[in-house]
């Protein structure tokens, strides 16, 4: 079976999972009262006055399967309901905040993966030496740190003491500038928009605000990569072809980089799925502490303000992102390891 048919089969398999995701979210909506549930169908502020109409129009006291049908229709037409806490439709609230989260995650993934691989390989090659002990200790400390506490301590130390790396996404002056007509929002990512508008200072400002959230996410997530990379590398170093490579007199560097590391990298691809989950969870806490206006902070605030439709909208989005991330991971895995697609 070729790669294309594997991809097609894998995409088909994704459909039942996505239906399951909506079923689960819908099951959760059945735990709330009809008035809060009505928020899931509202598109504008005016409709808030006619809650009873909404309840009867969408039959929120009808049998469950009828309600599910109507709800899924709403979702498919792009209506995720009304967010009470932001006074906006949920989809609008999510889509305006999504670029912020995307920017944060995009900047966090490369240091996490590259540094994680580097440290994992170092640790395995020098097993039971000082560097191995240091790396393992650092990784287990990162694994045990509460994300919110690390974020608070970093903020207190860097910003409170040295006025470096302030919270939120931009400084006041930059926020005012991007709301003028001279600034066109192409992507919603301030680092890129700054350059596209020929305003490098916006980019620099955005980067300064990204440093601490990125460091937080990296420290918390990197432990996983180090750990898996180390054990995968240790396993690979005991393989026959490594002995062959050494026996025919290849330099140590070449054996490690070309023969061992490449093959040891495969489990990291599988791990990327877990990394995606970790990032989705991590942004909720990180954005809240750093006052970074993305979808994670939006969900956390909505949850404390009992804005259920917003939280469920976020969960649905998170579920879909995670399912798609796993799809990409599986395809990448099949691409590098032919045994998967042929099996």
């Amino acid at each position: 079976m070729g790669l294309m048919s594997y991809v097609a089969r894998r995409i088909l398999l994704m459909i039942p999972t996505l239906i399951g995701v909506t079923l689960l979210i819908f099951a959760v909506t059945q735990m709330i009262d009809p008035v809060s549930r009505a928020m899931l169908y509202i598109k504008s502020e005016k409709e808030l006055q006619h809650i009873d109409d909404i309840i009867s129009r969408y039959g929120l006291n009808d049998p469950v399967y009828l309600q599910y049908g109507r709800w899924i229709q709403q979702i498919l037409t792009g209506n995720l309901g009304w967010s009470v806490s932001t006074r906006l439709p949920v989809l609008k609230a999510l889509s305006t905040r999504f670029p912020a989260t995307f920017e944060l995650v995009i900047f966090s993934i490369p240091p996490t993966i590259l540094l994680g691989i580097y440290l994992g390989v170092k640790s395995a090659v020098h097993k039971d030496k000082a560097i191995d002990h240091v790396t393992r200790t650092v990784s287990i400390i990162g694994w045990s740190l509460p994300t919110f506490w690390l974020a608070i301590v970093l903020l207190s130390f860097c910003y409170g003491r040295y006025h470096l790396f302030p919270p939120s996404r931009l400084t006041e002056a930059a926020i005012q500038f991007i709301h003028t007509e001279q600034f066109i929002s192409y992507t919603g990512l301030y680092t890129i928009d700054g350059l596209l508008n020929g305003q490098p200072w916006i980019t620099l400002d955005a980067i300064q605000h990204l440093v601490l959230p990125v460091v937080t996410l990296t420290v918390v997530q990197i432990a996983l990569i180090i750990r898996v990379m180390r054990s995968s590398m240790l396993e690979t170093l005991h393989k026959g072809y490594i002995f062959t490579a050494r026996a025919k007199g290849l330099a140590n560097k070449q054996v490690i980089n070309k023969h061992a590391r490449r093959n040891a990298l495969i489990p990291i691809i599988t791990l990327s799925g877990m990394l995606a989950a970790g990032m989705l969870t991590g942004v909720i806490i990180t954005e809240t502490v750093f006052d970074f206006n993305g979808i994670g902070r939006f969900a956390a605030t909505a949850a404390t303000r009992l804005d259920t439709s917003a939280v469920l909208g976020f969960s649905l989005l998170a579920g879909v992102i995670f399912v798609v991330a796993n799809l990409i991971v599986d395809i990448a895995y099949a691409y590098v390891d032919p045994r998967i697609r042929l099996g």
């Binding site: 039942p16 999972t17 399951g20 995701v21 079923l23 689960l24 979210i25 959760v28 909506t29 735990m31 709330i32 393992r136 200790t137 287990i140 400390i141 694994w143 045990s144 740190l145 509460p146 994300t147 919110f148 506490w149 608070i152 301590v153 903020l155 207190s156 910003y159 409170g160 003491r161 989950a277 970790g278 989705l280 969870t281 909720i284 806490i285 809240t288 502490v289 969900a299 956390a300 909505a302 949850a303 404390t304 009992l306 804005d307 259920t308 939280v311 469920l312 976020f314 969960s315 998170a318 579920g319 995670f322 399912v323």
Partner: protein, 297 residues
């Protein structure tokens, strides 16, 4: 069996990190047991509510002093009391989540594995759906629907936690089912129930139960995160995550001293961090020891 246990213990004793882990967990257990002595609760009051003076509820935290060894937090709650009784909260959250999770997982996992067919299929598809969400995201959604409270945080963590273990137990049982000694037990005419209880379960769950109990660190971390977000324990409750949430306004100190209120977040944070680190070190050691492929290397 006994020889294996002895071997495991000798392996634990040889690894310095796991000894540190055991020491930390034992230390916290001692703190929890001695809590009524270390920080005596007021008579006729809920011991999990942190005490504060009746006449002084001022907002600004106070630094450590003889009457408040760790200082006070926002609202003049005594931080020392909160950290000590927070240890009991942490153990309570850990056990009250992991025990129901294990019971549900054990029952559903073994039913699915033993009977297979449609039951197995349904359970696996359900766990697939739960796995389609990052755990904390689903927990936040559940708590926001159930209403913020510590009980609902625990309930949410149970609801999102069991499918993972059910899967592991199912897999273990399927593996053990094919072992020769089960075949032998069948051949000598043992009943189904006897085979499950005497032969399959002990061999399948030994490692799972140990792994699960060592996940307590991760559970406490999730619960602390939810409390920090304001979805768990209410203000004044002896819960580490909640205490740190109250310190958020004070992390920049005052203009004269940026670290004026360091105690309000550094101390409770160190409690969470050390507690979780202890369980994780223990878990790490056990993972290496219990893994049969790494065991005797």
């Amino acid at each position: 069996m006994l020889r294996e246990v002895k071997f495991s213990i000798s392996r634990i004793m040889k690894s310095p990190l796991s000894i540190v882990g055991i020491a930390i967990v034992v230390f916290f257990a001692a703190v929890a047991i001695l809590a009524p002595v270390l920080a005596p609760p007021r008579p006729n009051k809920d011991p999990f509510i942190m005490p504060r003076p009746k006449w002084d509820w001022s907002f600004t935290p106070r630094p450590p002093s003889p009457s408040n060894p760790f200082g006070t937090i926002e609202g003049q709650y005594d931080l020392f009391y909160g950290c000590i009784w927070g240890t009991i909260s942490a153990f309570r959250i850990g056990f009250m989540v992991i025990i129901p999770v294990l019971i549900i997982a054990l029952i559903l996992g073994s039913v699915a594995a033993y009977y297979g067919g449609i039951i197995d299929e349904l359970m696996m598809r359900f766990t697939d759906i739960i796995f389609a969400f990052p755990t904390l995201v689903l927990a936040i959604a559940l708590v926001s629907v159930l209403g913020p409270s510590l009980d609902n945080v625990m309930l949410a963590l149970i609801l999102v936690g069991w499918p993972g273990y059910a899967r592991v137990i199912r897999g273990e049982i399927l593996r053990v089912k094919q072992e020769d000694y089960v075949e032998a037990a069948k051949a000598v005419g043992c009943s189904d129930l006897r085979i499950i209880i005497r032969h399959i379960l002990p061999n399948a769950i030994y490692s799972t139960v140990i792994m699960a109990s060592l996940d307590i660190g991760a559970i406490v971390l999730s619960a602390a995160a939810l409390s920090f977000l304001g979805l768990g324990a209410p203000a004044g409750y002896a819960d580490w995550g909640q205490i740190i949430a109250r310190a958020r306004h004070w992390i920049y100190g005052n203009p004269a001293d940026p670290f004026a209120f360091w105690h309000a977040f550094i101390i409770p944070g160190l409690f969470i961090f050390t507690f979780v680190l202890g369980w994780n070190l223990l878990g790490d050691a056990f993972r290496d020891i219990l893994d049969p492929t790494l065991r005797r290397r």
